[in-house]
Each structure stands twice: as structure tokens, then as C-alpha cells.
């Protein structure tokens, strides 16, 4: 018996030794490898089908548009080495560089861009492209894309305002002067597509960016390696980019700690809230916190009593303490929001939010009580009826509880909290089947318009029932001119109507992006909206 025991113990020891040796050798990194978590499988790596952060993160390494964003967030030459803009701002002519090549060695031509954009806009694409509207700036783009119930439908693709004049010259005609069009041209919907490329697997996948797709193990990992045909390959230091798909934030955190990941947190991962709080308190050097261009707010159902009354909406908005919410509830470095357009968005010369202050209202409990009484009187009510505040899973419950508490304490209002499953929640919100609902919006491009045109009467994302002809006119005015000062003035006036005069939604905070980055990861760029440019990263151990 003793002998057996001894044997067992020694066997265990030997095995543990072998295992730990294996484990150690496996977790060491080879030089110039960058590993981050995507959390989920990208739904599609087809330029025309992609529409989410995960797909975008992978695509941004694989492709390059006519222009790209440099480390400072400025437009830099991409496949196009230079471009001309007509005086009215409606015609762009891009001159493509000669040495831009696909991962299979073929040159990238103007025809590849024309093909890609028209493919995305094609109403008969299989399946139709969900993000096609990103190309509606192009002349006839919308009328070509929308075929049913559209009297202005253009069935002839040659009428669409994108044309290859020759292999290296691309001419783009726009519907309106669009000062941020180069931003759109850098966006993934505007990447070129090679005609015979396949998108479902690594095999047959052709791209033109700094990296090419080495492997795609569905649901498990994606690996990128440098594209030796990339024109700026000397700037690319990484030899291997590895994306993992780990769903559990705690697992992601452990993997970061043990060196299986070099990056954790946004844009495509997350840091467990409890850990984030701890990291912030100990002032961890690997943690970086940055404001990003997204706003967290509550929708009021502007069509439902008593929320159709501006005074009631204002009262609710003035009766909460936003600083307390970001300091004591969300605790991730967010900033209180008193406007709708978030921080980090370009204005005329600098940032919009410093040129147009978000001082549309002040938190004031006494004033809120007055407004509420007045508003209810106008509505013919004596007391605020009990209403529901709906939200989806995630961190939203604690925020809702805090706000409901503030309303209860400051205004004596009873709120019913309603947690709804994601798609049910969206469905209810989009069909105006709610009283007050949690919402969030992130910038698609770096211009206040990405927020402002949300609430025009006809916007598909207007899920608050807000209709204001003056507002619509201001948005139209901003659309019609290329003069940035005039545009910003019009959009600031629109924001004044939306928040200052009507409080159509209740701003709560501007988002922040948190990530853990190993100290040896250099030259990464997190842009204004929280996207990560990993293409120029170098590992310096």
C-alpha cells in the first residue's frame, strides 16, 4: 500500500512537472505577435456585409481604403496618393498609387473601388448589404439601392456617381457637398473588393491592406500575417496578429494577466466591472481610459402622456445627479452629458463640444419640482402616474436603479424598472412601445451630423416620436452647404432645439473606453470613436 502511494505521488509530481513545462513554453510569445480578444466570431468579413465592431476591427487590418486615418486622427493617403475636390465640394477625383497591390499580387485599380461600391449598393446583392446607406452620399446611391416603392429608382448602375476614368483615376460625384466625405472614404464600407475574392474562409480571401488572412477557425480564432504586397509594408512591424473569440470577460482578464493576451477591453473585449474598479483605485499603469464619441441617454416617448410635455421631460432630466452616476455607479471614467453630440467630434477648427458648450440646462431639483407641477397641470394631471423605465441586460440595471432612486427622492415619483431581452427591448423601442427607455449612440463618422440627423422626422433611428419642422430645416441647411462654420451653426441650433428647448431625450454621460495594454505594446492608436488601429504596432520587449 505504501509503495503504491509513493508511486502515485511521484507520478503526480513528474506529470505536474511536464505539464508546467508545456504550459510555460506555450504561453511565451514570439516577437512581434499581437493578441487581442474579439469576444465573438465576426458575422462577416465581406466588406459589403460587415456592420459591427468585431468585423470592422478585423477588416481594418486586412483592407485599406482610398484614404486612411493617421495616428493623430487626420486623413492620410491610403490607396489614393492624392485627390482633388471641386469648388462646390461635390466632385472628388482620386489618384491611385501605382504600387498599391492585392495580397495575390495584382494591382489595386480604380475599377476595384467602382466594383465594390456598386456591389454594396446593388439591391440584388445576395443578401442585400445592410450598411449600404453609408454610400448614400454618392450621387444616385440611394436611388439605385432602393428598388421597391421608390419612384426615383435608378436601375442603371452606370448612373451611380462612382466611375473609374482609367486604372488609376476614380471620380466620385456626391449628392450634397459633404465636408466629411474623406472620413467616409476611409470607412470599411468604402474598401475596394477584388472581383473573384471569397469571404467565408481564409482560402481564396483576397485583401489589399497591411495584413492578409492566414487562418480563420470559426468561433475560435483568426490569424493575420503581413501582406508582402502592401505598398507601405516597411511601416508594418508585426509579424502575426492573433484574434481570439473568448466570451467570458473574466476569462479574458485572466488571459491578459497570464500573458495569453496583449490587449484587453474595448473596442472588442471587456474588463469585468469589479476588476476595472480595482485597477482604477490602484492606479494601474497598464490601464488606459479615454473618452470616446458615444453618448448614453434615456429616450422619452415624446408621443405618450405625460412625456409629450416638454416641462415634464425637463423636470425628469434636471432631477438627477449625473456626476454621482459616473462617480459612484458606472465608475469607468465617463463624463456627465448635458448635450446630445458627444465629446471627441470635430467642429469648425477644434472640437465641436468645446466650440459649442453643452450648457443647455442645469441640474436643479427645486426648478425640476416647479416644472413637473406646471407640466402635469398642463396635461390635466394632479400627480405623476407610475411609469416604466425599460432597459436591456448588461450594466444598465444599476444605472436605472440609481436614476429611479433619484427621481423618487427628488420628485417623489414611482418608477417601475423593466429588464427586457435585447431583441424584445429593441422591438419595443423602435415601435414606441415604452415610457422611458435606455439608449446609446456612437459616431459613424467624425462630424456632429452623425448625431444630429438621428432625430429628423424621417430618420429610421428616430425612436422617440420627435417631429419638429424647424429641426428638419436646420439639418437640411447643414446638408446643403460645404461651409463648415455654417454647418456647425445650423447643427448647434438644432441641438438647442433638441435638448435645450425640448429635452426630447435625456443625456446622461459620454462614454469612455477602457483597455489594459501590456507595456511592450507600442504605437497603437485608439481613435475618437474608440476604434483601435493595430496595424502600426510594434512589440518592444
Amino acid at each position: 500500500m505504501k509503495k503504491k502511494l509513493l508511486l502515485l505521488v511521484s507520478l503526480t509530481l513528474v506529470l505536474t512537472g511536464i505539464l508546467s513545462a508545456c504550459g510555460k513554453s506555450g504561453s511565451g510569445t514570439s516577437d512581434q505577435t499581437f493578441r487581442m480578444n474579439l469576444t465573438t466570431e465576426p458575422p462577416s468579413l465581406d466588406v459589403a456585409q460587415a456592420q459591427d465592431q468585431v468585423s470592422f476591427t478585423v477588416l481594418s487590418g486586412l483592407f485599406e481604403g482610398l484614404v486612411r486615418m493617421d495616428a493623430k486622427g487626420e486623413i492620410a493617403p491610403g490607396v489614393a496618393e492624392k485627390w482633388d475636390v471641386s469648388d462646390d465640394g461635390k466632385k472628388y477625383t482620386f489618384h491611385l498609387r501605382d504600387n498599391a497591390k492585392w495580397s495575390n499580387g495584382d494591382p489595386v485599380t480604380a475599377q476595384d473601388f467602382e466594383y465594390s461600391w456598386k456591389r454594396t449598393l446593388d439591391p440584388k446583392l445576395n443578401p442585400p448589404a445592410p450598411y449600404a446607406y453609408q454610400l448614400y452620399y454618392v450621387k444616385n446611391g440611394q436611388n439605385y439601392n432602393i428598388a421597391t416603392d421608390n419612384p426615383d429608382h435608378v436601375s442603371d448602375p452606370s448612373q451611380v456617381g462612382v466611375k473609374a476614368l482609367d486604372d488609376k483615376t476614380l471620380e466620385v460625384d456626391l449628392e450634397n457637398p459633404t465636408p466629411y466625405f474623406l472620413n467616409i472614404a476611409a470607412f470599411f464600407t468604402a474598401y475596394p473588393v477584388k472581383k473573384d475574392a471569397k469571404f467565408g474562409e481564409a482560402e481564396g480571401y483576397i485583401s489589399n491592406g497591411p495584413f492578409k488572412l492566414k487562418s480563420w477557425k470559426h468561433g475560435d480564432s483568426i490569424e493575420l500575417v503581413p501582406n508582402e504586397n502592401y505598398w507601405d509594408k516597411d511601416s508594418i512591424k508585426l509579424k502575426d496578429v492573433k484574434f481570439l473569440m473568448v466570451k467570458d470577460p473574466n476569462t479574458e482578464f485572466s488571459m491578459y494577466k497570464t500573458g495569453q493576451l496583449d490587449w484587453s477591453g474595448l473596442p472588442t473585449g471587456s474588463i469585468p466591472p469589479a476588476q476595472l474598479d480595482k485597477l482604477r483605485q490602484e492606479n494601474n499603469k497598464e490601464l488606459s481610459i479615454k473618452g470616446i464619441a458615444s453618448t448614453y441617454f434615456y429616450n422619452f416617448n415624446n408621443t405618450k402622456k405625460p412625456f409629450d410635455n416638454a416641462k415634464v421631460r425637463e423636470a425628469l432630466s434636471m432631477a438627477i445627479n449625473r456626476q454621482d452616476i459616473v462617480d459612484k455607479v458606472t465608475k469607468a471614467g465617463q463624463t456627465p452629458a448635458y448635450g446630445f453630440v458627444s465629446t471627441g467630434i470635430h467642429g469648425v477648427n477644434g472640437e465641436y463640444r468645446s466650440e459649442v458648450k453643452d450648457d443647455y440646462f442645469k441640474e436643479d431639483v427645486a426648478k425640476a419640482k416647479e416644472l413637473l407641477a406646471e407640466g402635469l397641470k398642463e396635461e390635466g394631471m394632479t400627480k405623476m402616474p407610475e411609469f416604466s423605465l425599460s432597459f436591456n441586460e448588461g450594466p444598465h440595471k444599476t444605472i436605472a436603479e440609481a436614476i429611479a432612486n433619484m427621481w423618487k427622492e427628488n420628485l417623489g415619483i414611482d418608477v417601475k424598472l423593466e429588464l427586457q431581452e435585447w431583441k424584445v427591448f429593441l422591438k419595443n423601442r423602435q415601435s414606441l412601445n415604452y415610457d422611458v427607455a435606455r439608449a446609446g449612440w456612437g459616431a459613424d463618422y467624425n462630424d456632429p451630423m452623425t448625431f444630429i440627423d438621428l432625430y429628423t422626422s424621417k430618420s429610421g433611428n428616430n425612436d422617440i416620436g420627435f417631429k419638429n419642422p424647424e429641426y428638419d430645416a436646420l439639418v437640411k441647411e447643414a446638408y446643403s452647404t460645404a461651409d463648415q462654420q455654417k454647418r456647425v451653426d445650423a447643427m448647434a441650433k438644432a441641438e438647442q432645439i433638441l435638448i435645450g428647448d425640448n429635452m426630447a431625450v435625456m443625456p446622461i454621460y459620454y462614454y469612455s473606453s477602457n483597455q489594459l495594454v501590456k507595456p511592450y505594446v507600442k504605437n497603437y492608436v485608439v481613435d475618437y470613436s474608440g476604434n483601435l488601429d493595430y496595424t502600426r504596432i510594434s512589440i518592444e520587449k
Binding site: T16, L19, S20, C22, G23, K24, G26, S27, T40, E41, P43, S44, L45, D46, Q49, Q51, N126, P127, P128, P130, Y131, A132, Y133, N145, I146, A147, T148, D149, N150, F199, G200, H218, G219, D220, S221, L244, M245, V246, K247, D248, N250, T251, S254, M255, K257, T258, Q260, E421, W422, K423, V424, L426, K427, N428, Q430, G440, D444, G460, N461, D463
Partner: protein, 311 residues
């Protein structure tokens, strides 16, 4: 016997049909669709996409179209991962789940039966008490607790294993342990209780009286009878384990079927929901069918004649 098994097969096909129908209509009754999202797609584009997938047709017609394809074994394309067929998603992720599941089953049966027999042989002694104490822990502590614990101690603290992923064979160890604790405990208890019963029965006494060696008594006469409930349990357990555990897959970041099942429902990925539900049902029914067949061989008392089942 052919009639007996044939009857069971017809039963399976019929059950599958009912299951597919019920799932189809329940799934459509849930609010939302695959293309609802925070940043709404313009209604015209969405209408275009819905038409592409035939989701604009009346629900009865959608059902008939789906069933017609199903009969031809065509599960269609996923609506979330547009470039992939449901069949390829299932076959790839099932591969991972089945591999880890198979390890877990083999280990559970070997360790579980061994522990159970030892406990029965040393009834009310230290070995028995220890084994049964461990079994109680194994049954009552959920696998996500065990998974997180071994991950924390063995991977984060001691750094013996990787935290997650399946890069090398060694990475299979932790998920296998997490998956097998419950079945080990369950099998150990099952084996122990039946063995206790078996060991006091008449034919064991007869065998002893015949002068057979204790080893022969235990393995030939004891175990064969003692293992019957384990075989019964093995059917549904196999189906359960090889189709993937959502929680264990999540903790160890494994690309298994369980995660896809939950995601498909969250995403309202209709074709994938149907595909995985039907696949899961097929596995479960196949496992039970095989159990029935195995029974005929293991249990000599089950005799089938003239289509009448006597058990």
C-alpha cells in the same frame, strides 16, 4: 427484434417532426428578428433583406418551405454569419464539443465505476465514506464553479495550464475535468448502490459457494449486473455532454456547439436555431435508441419475441 427497433425508429421520426414544427412556430412568436439592431437599418434595406430570406411571406408558407428543405437535409444559410451554412457551423463546433465530451465520458465512466465499486466493497469503511463525500461535492457543486476554481488555481495562480483556448493537447485537461465531475459523482453513487444490492444477492452467494475467485465474482457476476443503471444513465448523459456545455465553453473560451445554441437564440438566427435544435434532438434520440439496443445485450432478462416487450 426488428419490429421492436423499427417501431422505435418510426417513433423517432414522428417526434422530430413535432419538435421541428413546435420550435418553428415558437421561434417566430418571439418578438424581434435577425436584423433588429441598435443602429436600425433603413426600412427599405431591411425590407429588401427580409424578402431575400423569405421572411416577408406568410408564416404558413415559410413553414412549408422550411420543412421541404429540411426533408432534403438542407438546413440553409445562417442569417447572422451570412457566408456560412448551418451544416458547416454545426459540424465544426460539434467536432470540438464532441472531442472534449468524449474525453469526459470515458474518464467519468472509468473513474465513476471504479470509485463506486471500491465504495461498495468497503461498505461503511473509510474508502466508502471518502468516495461518497466526494460524490456529494461533485453532484452539488455546479461545473461553472469547479471550472472557474480550477482555472483560477491551476492557470492563473500556478500557471500550469493555459487559461483558455485549445492550442495544444494539454488545453483539453481543464475543460475535461470541469465536464466530468458531475457524471463521475453520479456514476459512482449509482454503481455503489446497485453493487451493494448485487453483492448481497443469491447468485453471488452461489458463485462464492462454487469457489470462484473474488476477482471473477466481482467482474463477471457483480459488475455486469451492477453496471445496468449506468448504461441507462449513459445514453442521455452522452447526448448531453457531447453537444456542449454553454457554461464550460464560455469559461474556457471553447468554440463548441453550446455557445452557438445560446447565441443563435439571442440573435434570432432562425435557420441556426432550427438546425441546432433538430441536431440536438437527433443526438438525444439516437443516444436513447442505442441505449435500448445495448440493453438487449447487457441485460439477459430482456427477451424480445413476437413484438411483445417483456422487461
Amino acid at each position: 427484434m426488428v419490429r421492436y427497433l423499427g417501431g422505435k425508429l418510426i417513433n423517432i421520426v414522428f417526434s422530430l417532426l413535432i419538435l421541428a414544427t413546435a420550435t418553428f412556430f415558437l421561434m417566430k412568436a418571439v418578438p424581434g428578428d435577425p436584423f433588429t439592431q441598435e443602429k436600425a437599418i433603413p426600412p427599405e434595406i431591411k425590407a429588401n433583406i427580409m424578402a431575400h430570406y423569405g421572411l416577408d411571406k406568410p408564416i404558413g408558407e415559410q413553414y412549408l418551405i422550411y420543412m421541404k428543405k429540411l426533408v432534403q437535409f438542407d438546413l440553409g444559410l445562417s442569417m447572422k454569419s451570412q457566408d456560412r451554412t448551418v451544416t458547416s457551423i454545426i459540424s465544426q463546433s460539434f467536432g470540438t464539443s464532441a472531442k472534449i465530451g468524449a474525453f469526459a465520458i470515458v474518464i467519468s465512466v472509468i473513474i465513476g465505476v471504479y470509485l463506486g465499486m471500491m465504495a461498495a466493497l468497503r461498505h461503511r469503511k473509510l474508502v466508502d465514506n471518502t468516495a461518497m463525500f466526494l460524490a456529494v461535492i461533485g453532484i452539488s457543486v455546479p461545473n461553472f464553479v469547479i471550472g472557474s476554481m480550477i482555472q483560477y488555481f491551476l492557470s492563473v495562480k500556478l500557471q500550469i495550464f493555459h487559461v483558455a483556448g485549445l492550442e495544444s493537447p494539454i488545453d483539453y485537461v481543464l475543460p475535461t475535468i470541469a465536464l466530468s465531475t458531475l457524471p463521475i459523482a453520479f456514476i459512482a453513487r449509482l454503481t455503489r448502490s446497485t453493487m451493494l444490492e448485487v453483492l448481497t444477492s443469491d447468485y453471488i452467494r452461489t458463485a462464492k459457494a462454487k469457489g470462484l475467485t473474488p476477482r471473477a465474482i466481482l467482474w463477471q457476476h457483480g459488475l455486469r449486473n451492477g453496471i445496468l443503471p449506468v448504461v441507462t444513465y449513459l445514453g442521455p448523459m452522452t447526448a448531453n455532454i457531447i453537444t456542449g456545455s454553454v457554461v464550460v465553453e464560455q469559461i474556457f473560451g471553447l468554440p463548441g456547439l453550446g455557445a452557438y445554441f445560446v447565441d443563435s437564440v439571442m440573435n434570432r438566427d432562425y435557420t441556426l436555431i432550427m438546425g441546432i435544435t433538430i441536431f440536438y434532438a437527433v443526438i438525444l434520440m439516437a443516444a436513447r435508441f442505442i441505449t435500448d439496443v445495448l440493453y438487449i445485450f447487457v441485460d439477459p432478462r430482456i427477451k424480445l419475441s413476437g413484438g411483445v416487450v417483456k422487461s
